[in-house]
C-alpha cells in the first residue's frame, strides 16, 4: 500500500513539476502576475506537503526552501527576477532527479540552490533589511488555492454595538467566502436582571471552508480586530483524502478546551463522550456542540472533495488502456466477421443483430480510443523550457508561441512525436532565427518568434512549427542536390520538391556544427519518425522571411481507415490518409507510356509503382488495373493493384519479428472472414522505387 501511495505521489509530483515549469516560464514574461506566483507557490506547497507525508523527506525539506521564497514573493517582499526563475527551474530539475531516485552528476548543486534561495530572503546574510523568518515546514497555514477549512474563534469587544459595528454583518461576510457554519458560545450571557442588553456577551466558533486563504478571512475582521479576540486556525488543508476527521475528544483537546488526561479518563469510562463531558462539567455544552459542528463540517468538506475528485478523474495505468484498445481491436475484427456472416446467411434477424453490434462496437472503439487521447499541450510545455535554454546558449532572443495545446492525440503518437518536434525547434533556433544584431540590421525585431501550433483537421492533427528566421536558401539546396547528383542542373522543380531534398539522408547545407545541431540527427530522421507515425511532413519557406514545417498525423495508430485492395488472391490495405483518388490503368495506357511507369491523370503525369511486380507475384494482371493515387510531401505517386474493394476499418496488428523489417509493409490486419491483409507503407514503397520513378 505504501509503495502504491508513493507511486501515486510520484505521478502527481511529475504533473506538478510540469505545471511548475510552465508557470515559471510564464512568470518570467509576466513577473507581476499574482495568479502565476500563486500557482508556483501551490505547486511547491503540494510537492512539499505530500512529499513529507509519503516519506520523501529530502524532497520536502528541499522544496521548503523554494516555497519559503515564493511565500515572500506572494507577500511582495521578494521580486520575481530572472535569477529567481533560473534558480527555481534548477530546483525543479533537482526535485525531478530526486523523484527519479537519480543521484545527479553534480550532487553538490543542491546546497548551491538552497543557498541561492536563502540569499533571496530579505534579512538573510548579504541582504539589507529584515524580514520575517520563514516558517518551518508545516507551520504556515496561509496559502490560498485549494479549499481549506478554518476554525475561527471570535470574541468581539462587549461594547461592539456602541461602536456601530454589527457582528452579524461580519458573520455574513464570512458566509460569502465559502461553506460556513457558526456556533454561538452563550456561556457568558448573564441572567435577565444582570444583563446590559446593549452589550455583546456572545462569542463564536466559526467553521469556513474556502479557497480564498487566510488573508481574506483576516480582512473581514480588519476593523474590529484590535478590540476583539480573534484566532484563525487551519484545521484541514484540503489535501487529506480520508473522510474520518478527528474524534470529538481529539477536537476538544486540539482546541485546548479539554486536557488529554481528562479525555483518557473519560474514555476509560466507556460512556458516550459528549454526554460524559457535559454531565461531568468538564466541557460546556456550547463547546461540545461546537466540536460536533466542526467534526461534521470538516467531514462534509472532505467528502465533497472526494466526490469532486472521484467525479472529475480516475487514474488508470496506461498499460490497462493499451490492453483495452487491443481488446476493442479484436472485437472490431470479430464484429466484421459477424457482419460478413450475417450477409452470407441473408437472415434478417441475424442482420439486425449484426448491425446493432456494429453500432455498439463503433461507439466502444471511439470511446476506448478517446481514453488514450492526451492534449498535445503536455509536451508543448517542455518546449518552452527548451527554447528558453537553447536561445540562451546560442545568444538568440526567441519567444515560443504555442497554440492549440488542447488538441488531443493518441498517447502513443504523442510520445513518439516528442523527438521530431525537439529537432525541428532546435533547427529553427540554430539555423532559422538570426542573432539579435543581424535581425536588427535586417529590419526585423531583435526578438525572433517561433510558433508551435496544433489543430484538428478531420481525422488528422496538423502540427506546424513556424519561425520568422532567415528561411531556407533555395539556391544552396539546389546546388547541393546537383552536386550530389540527385538533380539534373537543367531540371526545374517546385519549391516543395526542392525542400524535400533536405529530408533525404546525407543531405546537409550546414557549414558549421554547433552544440545544438550536428548531433547526428538530421531532417531525414524526423521524416522517418513522422512517416512511422503514418504521418507526412511538408516544408514551406521563403528566404529572409521564415520557414514553416507542417506535420500531418493520424489521431491514432491503433485503428485506421484504410482502402482495401487486391492483387491476385491477396488482400492489402492502403492507409486512407494518403489516398487521394483511384483511376483505371488499361493496357493501352501502359503501351502509350513506352515502358515508363507513368500514367496521365487529368493532364498530370503521375509515376506509379506496380505492386504485382514489386512483390514478384505470379499470374497475369487483369486487362484493367487500378491505380491508387497517393500524395506525400506534395508529390503524387500511384500504386497499381488489381482491384479496389473499398474502405475498411483497419485494426493494426504488428508483424512478427521475422517480417518486421520487410520494406513497404507496416503491419497486418484481419479481415471479416479471418483472411490476413498486409498494410502497405506507401512512403517506403515509393522511396524504394525512387530511382526508377525519377528515370
Amino acid at each position: 500500500m505504501k509503495d502504491k501511495n508513493r507511486e501515486a505521489y510520484k505521478e502527481e509530483a511529475y504533473e506538478l513539476l510540469a505545471e511548475l515549469e510552465e508557470s515559471l516560464l510564464a512568470l518570467e514574461a509576466s513577473p507581476e502576475d499574482e495568479e502565476l506566483i500563486g500557482r508556483v507557490f501551490r505547486a511547491m506547497h503540494t510537492i512539499k506537503g505530500s512529499g513529507a507525508m509519503f516519506g520523501f523527506e529530502d524532497i520536502a525539506s528541499f522544496t521548503h526552501e523554494v516555497e519559503t521564497v515564493f511565500d515572500l514573493v506572494r507577500d511582495g517582499q521578494v521580486r520575481v527576477t530572472k535569477d529567481l526563475v533560473d534558480l527555481s527551474l534548477a530546483a525543479r530539475d533537482e526535485i525531478r532527479a530526486m523523484l527519479e531516485g537519480d543521484e545527479p552528476e553534480d550532487v553538490h548543486q543542491r546546497p548551491g540552490i538552497i543557498a541561492g534561495f536563502r540569499g533571496l530572503i530579505p534579512g538573510a546574510a548579504g541582504e539589507a533589511g529584515s524580514g520575517p523568518a520563514p516558517a518551518p515546514p508545516g507551520e504556515e497555514d496561509s496559502w490560498a488555492g485549494a479549499p481549506a477549512t478554518y476554525r475561527i474563534r471570535f470574541r468581539p469587544a462587549a461594547d461592539i454595538f456602541l461602536s456601530g459595528a454589527n457582528p452579524c454583518h461580519l458573520l455574513n461576510e464570512l458566509r460569502q467566502l465559502g461553506d460556513f457554519n457558526v456556533v454561538a458560545q452563550t456561556e457568558a450571557i448573564p441572567f435577565l436582571a444582570d444583563i446590559n442588553p446593549e452589550r455583546c456577551y456572545t462569542s463564536w466558533d466559526l467553521f469556513l471552508t474556502t479557497s480564498r486563504g487566510f488573508d481574506a478571512i483576516a480582512d473581514v475582521f480588519i476593523f474590529v480586530a484590535d478590540d476583539s479576540e480573534l484566532d484563525i486556525q487551519m484545521i484541514d488543508d484540503g489535501t487529506a483524502d480520508r473522510g474520518d476527521y478527528k474524534k470529538l475528544g481529539e477536537i476538544l483537546v486540539a482546541r485546548g478546551d479539554l486536557d488529554e488526561d481528562s479525555l483518557t479518563r473519560l474514555l476509560a469510562q466507556r460512556q458516550l463522550i459528549g454526554e460524559a463531558l457535559i454531565s461531568t462539567g468538564l466541557v460546556s455544552g456550547d463547546k461540545v456542540e461546537s466540536a460536533l459542528v466542526e467534526q461534521r463540517h470538516v467531514r462534509a468538506a472532505q467528502k465533497k472533495r472526494q466526490e469532486n475528485e472521484g467525479a472529475a478523474s480516475i487514474r488508470v495505468p496506461s498499460a490497462k488502456l493499451d490492453k483495452l484498445v487491443d481488446l476493442v481491436g479484436e472485437l472490431v475484427t470479430v464484429q466484421a466477421r459477424l457482419s460478413q456472416t450475417a450477409i452470407n446467411f441473408q437472415d434478417s434477424q441475424l442482420t439486425a443483430i449484426a448491425e446493432e453490434v456494429e453500432r455498439l462496437t463503433g461507439d466502444l472503439r471511439d470511446n476506448a480510443l478517446n481514453m488514450r487521447m492526451l492534449p498535445i499541450g503536455t509536451i508543448f510545455s517542455k518546449f518552452q523550457r527548451l527554447v528558453r535554454d537553447l536561445s540562451g546558449e546560442l545568444g538568440r532572443q526567441v519567444g515560443l508561441i504555442t497554440a492549440g495545446a488542447e488538441t488531443e492525440l493518441d498517447k502513443t503518437v504523442l510520445e513518439r512525436l516528442n523527438d521530431p518536434l525537439v529537432h525541428l525547434l532546435r533547427n529553427s533556433l540554430d539555423h532559422g532565427i538570426e542573432s539579435p544584431e543581424v535581425r536588427v540590421q535586417l529590419g526585423k525585431p531583435a526578438r525572433g518568434k517561433i510558433s508551435l501550433t496544433a489543430s484538428h483537421a478531420g481525422a488528422q492533427v496538423i502540427i506546424r512549427v513556424q519561425d520568422d528566421g532567415r528561411g531556407l536558401d533555395q539556391e544552396a539546396i539546389r546546388a547541393k542536390a546537383v552536386q550530389l547528383g540527385w538533380l539534373a542542373p537543367e531540371v526545374e522543380i517546385s519549391d516543395k520538391e526542392l525542400f524535400s531534398f533536405i529530408m533525404s539522408p546525407g543531405f546537409s547545407t550546414a557549414r558549421e556544427v554547433t552544440s545544438v545541431s550536428g548531433r547526428g540527427v538530421g531532417m531525414d530522421v524526423v521524416k522517418k519518425a513522422i512517416e512511422a507515425l503514418q504521418g507526412s511532413i511538408e516544408i514551406d519557406s521563403q528566404k529572409g522571411v521564415g520557414t514553416s514545417i507542417t506535420i500531418k498525423l493520424p489521431l491514432t495508430l491503433a485503428i485506421i481507415e484504410g482502402l482495401l485492395v487486391t492483387i491476385e488472391e491477396d488482400y492489402f490495405v492502403v492507409p486512407l490518409s494518403v489516398v487521394t483518388e483511384c483511376v483505371e490503368l488499361t493496357r493501352e495506357d501502359v503501351a502509350r507510356a513506352h515502358g515508363h511507369k507513368m500514367a496521365r491523370v487529368r493532364d498530370e503525369i503521375v509515376p506509379y509503382v506496380h505492386l504485382r511486380e514489386r512483390f514478384a507475384m505470379e499470374g497475369l494482371p487483369p486487362a484493367i488495373e487500378q491505380i491508387v493515387i497517393t500524395e506525400m510531401n506534395g508529390s503524387k505517386v500511384g500504386l497499381v493493384v488489381d482491384q479496389v474493394i473499398g474502405e475498411q476499418q483497419t485494426v493494426i496488428k504488428s508483424l512478427g519479428r521475422v517480417y518486421r523489417h520487410v520494406a513497404g509493409i507496416s503491419g497486418a490486419t484481419l479481415l471479416g472472414d479471418g483472411t490476413v491483409a498486409l498494410i502497405l507503407d506507401a512512403a517506403q514503397l515509393v522511396q524504394g522505387q525512387a530511382g526508377e520513378l525519377l528515370n
Partner: protein, 114 residues
Amino acid sequence: MDMKKKVASKTEVVTFSGDLTIENAQELQKILLAAMDNAAELLLTFENVTATDLTFVQLLCSAHRTAVRSDKIMKLASPRPEVLMAAVRETGFIREKGCILDTQASCIWKEGWQ
C-alpha cells in the same frame, strides 16, 4: 415596539411586535423581567415583528436561563417571525442540546428554527 400582556390562568402571554432591536433593548429587558415576576409560566408570542437583532436573541437566551433558575417555564410560540428565525440561524444559536443550565431540557434553541 408594542407589547401586550395577558394572563391566562397561570400562564402570562407576552406578545412582541414592531422592532425588537438594540434601540428598544432596555425596554424589552424590563418587559421580560416584569413578566417573569408575575407568572410561573411565560409564553412569548409575536405579531408583526418588523426587525430584530442579536441583542434580542441574547435577551431571549438570558430570559430562559433566568426562568430555569427560578423553576419557571418560558416558551416561544409558533409561528415565529421570519426576521427572528433568520437572526437565530445566522448568529448560530440553534442547538442540538441545551447548555449546562438547561436542567429541564427546555432549551428554546433546539426546535422550530429551521
